[in-house]
Subunit: 325 residues, 4 copies
């Protein structure tokens, strides 16, 4: 698997889905009830991946609906500031708000999030707001699972995938499962299956694949067998501290471990992993190295206070890889 | 009008309605897009009045629905901490969240609020959650208009008023009009009228009375004529920097001006006004002095960063009154 | 109590609320599963009362929202055909439908109704669609309880009552309690109480007053005591086959029994009762006779196939009264 | 294309989707406003096809949610009475109602339908209510497009298709497009495309394919090109009075005309067409003859009063084919 097709296109990657606001505890190592101050960051898995890949040097774009308020304008200007193309962003005209995630950092092992996700702007992206001309300029469309949780965002993403396939743009599906906003696990499984069967690359944790399969204790063998019967060429399955695996349609398997770090919180690991993994693939470093880039990038982000602002540069990743070789 | 009836009751005042979270800009004199840190306070008009009257020494209680999460626990513990009885609070069991108000402080004249009010816990207080035994212990029930904006909170408040009147508890109606959450101005006018016709004391700005009357440019004379034909004994109408007026059913009129202060923001003025005005009435200081207490209290709060935490003590108010006599 | 005030006004009575479609079993004395044909009639308590009073010779009008479809046009033309003024009817512009009531007539004692009441047009009457000039032309505004069950119809009725009182138009409240469409009994009790406290005449069954009072086994004495403390002048309480009672604010009590008839079904009894009772009051026949008119009219309607089309003339009622004197 | 695979299975065909009530005008050739009586029939495209194929001698089953009321019991008993297996039917437990279709028959050319489709039971079939063991017993799963219009019925159908494919059961997609209940044409196009790409046989009118393709004036060539790139083996496209076409993946094309009849109304043509077409395929009569069976069956139904009760037997179809040979 390499991603060097369509190299003349304007964007290496366009991510579609939510861009929201993280409000991270300034005073931590305590319950949120006692946190009196919060710092504001851009958040949301696909937004983080657009930011992460852009900071690594890829040409990244973003499709999503943002509120027409102070938080929406912050999101747009922050993302533009780190080099993400924001011309695919759509302003909500119905007064909907940005999703919020208040993070509580009690200890490295005990973090929780208090989510505000009712009627958030990002879930109101409509199919008509996804522009075929924009997608046609991308080599990869990055789809995050949460955007499938509600209509019309669900249909906007299904439509975007249809347009990507029609225009020879690879589809990467980051499972990014979040229980809130989904009506039921049953419905999650239906749409995750539908999209994974159409994706070229699928990335997720073992738990997320189990959710997709509607059962616990699934095996990587069964998962990859099912996906390779459909359209997948590459499947990445993360097993937490035990490391991550990549499987190719041709039958190869790769594995990487995790890197030591001074963990502050667990948020943001998945998004930084995906960003660096895709960066390495785009740069022809091979799947095994790409797994290492993903893993190292995750290690860096979980040692820092934010998910988006902490996204590392390639040099930072490479330094860590060198140190812990 | 005095409030010294039922002095044997456990509570001077029980407020009913919303208790939420204010997130006030730490870096101000700039648009919120550029504010990167926010401080957390308890907010919401009736919560602020419960806090304000409690800090002034009245025995205050609160009826309202709060979320079963970190923000809900903060609200409960903060209010209990300043002496408010919170046994009338009900925990939401459906995962609803606290309302949020992000405040933007561009300049003393240019403040705005970014509200999160979709499906907030406070608007789900149900009539069955209003306890007659609790209301029977109060001398005054303080109703805030915003709690009328949606069912079932609307019916909970109508029911609480019914119980108050049945148990010889005076009803004070603070108009507290906020356009969000109301379906239409027409509906606002209908419920404001319905409740104002049943209230013993009504407090609001001239603009709020105009909203209640469904027209612009209403006169204090017409407003008081209508309310005194119903059950009101005392009507307070605030005219911003021009000062405030109190009218009694017996025909007396009182007026107070405003106090000079170093304005930081305009939030919280109404709640601090109501708190100090009621405090003075409970302490038999007479209506004219009560207007001054209200006005002085408002001046103090608008010079400070929060609405709730900044509620003054009686000594602070009296110092200001003395200084600007 | 007489109703001869404002005799110069164009309408004796204007009813507000629902006008729907009854689909009555053509083949009866069997479960509805085996009924293969249905006859169409206009239905809905306030529509039936407008029809009933109009057929008795009163000048009747109607305020309500009807669908812009074949059923709506049938309702309008049928009501106009029996003399009801339909200029206060409003067309729904959102594609909402008429409520439907399929009636099952298994036996005179065993009737049930299969209701279609989801998103029906009548419950979407808005306050702005109630015209003060129209209400000002009426001597009596007839309010039916079901119209209070949902917003915005609820607010439209509250607004109509406000306009009626402002314009010296008497308010008659027919409790007409139907469990469907109400969210809870608690909410029913709140709004029934609110409106009954403002009404000049209240008419209902003992069970309906119990619903209003939120308890079982209420007494007529307690009910009338409460209502006469507010604005009621006349209260009618129906006790089924044991007859009906009327109480006046001045302390008089009247009673009437029921008339023998060949019962086909039990639908429509209440509406025909109210129609004839009000007709007799308007014609100065005295309360005792008015109760008889109501009772006789109900006897006639329950022996016939429809509720609206079967509404008797004054001559039919008087013949029955004469026969069973 | 033949359907003789899996001949040992218990059911030739299981239809999934809505079963509702048709209320057909007894007095016709007039606007519905003047129709005073209605006859009751079972209706709904997939229910009609289950009835139609069962009357033709196929072993048919049905999956759908019906109300727990008189209409629901009528639907179940009528369908069981004509031989349809109803063990896959699920009772709604939330008080939802059967969909209704009041038909207006002004003239053979001018028919309209007044639909009641708000919160109808059939659209609440949940994925968990679709039983894999039941689908495994079928040779064909018949999916009707309307069931895709809303969640959770949409997901139930997507899940049923997934189970059908997993269990080697052919998927027949009858487009059956009805504008009501769909949020937008855009959303219709997305789900029609998604399902058509997974179906083995697709049947619809040229207009319905245009809806699926999101444009007017599509060609049969483009439509079949797209579907044969996916999983379709047989595509039927109906052009009204100009006849119908069948295309096979192998490249063959077949055409049939229409049969003369005394048209009463246009309802029910599509369902009777599909029933007879599939019957002929199951009986190895070849595609060309199957088109004739479909066309003849449609001619018979549009000359009669109902859609379901009028479904012809094989003998009736063959007589017509013989007569108009």
């Amino acid at each position: 698997m390499n991603l060097n097709k369509n190299s003349e296109r304007k964007f290496d990657i366009i991510a579609i889905g939510r861009a929201c606001i993280d409000l991270n505890a300034v005073e931590y190592n305590r319950p949120m009830e006692e946190t009196m101050t919060f710092s504001k960051y851009v958040g949301g898995s696909p937004a983080n991946i657009a930011i992460g890949t852009s900071k690594l040097g890829l040409k990244a774009g973003f499709i999503g609906k943002i509120p027409d308020d102070q938080h929406g304008r912050f999101i747009q200007s922050y993302m533009a500031g780190v080099g993400v193309d924001t011309t695919g962003m759509v302003l909500d005209t119905e007064g909907r708000k940005a999703g919020l995630a208040f993070t509580e950092i009690k200890s490295p092992e005990d973090c929780s999030i208090l989510m505000y996700r009712d009627n958030v702007a990002d879930l109101y992206l409509a199919p008509s707001e996804v522009d075929e001309d924009y997608i046609r300029q991308a080599r990869v469309l990055l789809v995050s699972g949460t955007a499938l949780s509600k209509s019309p965002s669900r249909e906007a993403v299904l439509h975007a995938i249809h347009l990507a396939k029609k225009n020879d743009c690879l589809v990467v599906f980051e499972l990014d499962y979040r229980p809130y906003t989904w009506v039921s696990e049953e419905e999650t499984a239906i749409y995750y299956t539908l999209v994974a069967e159409q994706a070229d690359i699928v990335i997720g944790t073992r738990d997320e694949y189990d959710m997709m399969e509607g059962k616990e204790g699934g095996t990587n063998e069964a998962t990859t067998h099912h996906l390779f019967e459909n359209q997948a060429k590459l499947v990445v399955i993360k097993h937490g501290v035990e490391g991550s695996f990549a499987y190719t349609r041709e039958g190869a398997t790769f594995k990487a471990g995790v890197y030591k770090t001074n963990v502050l919180k667990t948020f943001g690991a998945g998004d930084s992993y995906a960003s660096a993994f895709l960066y390495a693939l785009f740069n022809d470093k091979g799947i095994e190295t790409a797994l290492k880039y993903g893993s190292a990038s995750a290690s860096i982000v979980i040692s820092k206070h934010s998910s988006s602002d902490a996204m590392p540069t390639a040099a930072e990743i490479e330094t860590l890889l060198e140190e812990q070789k």
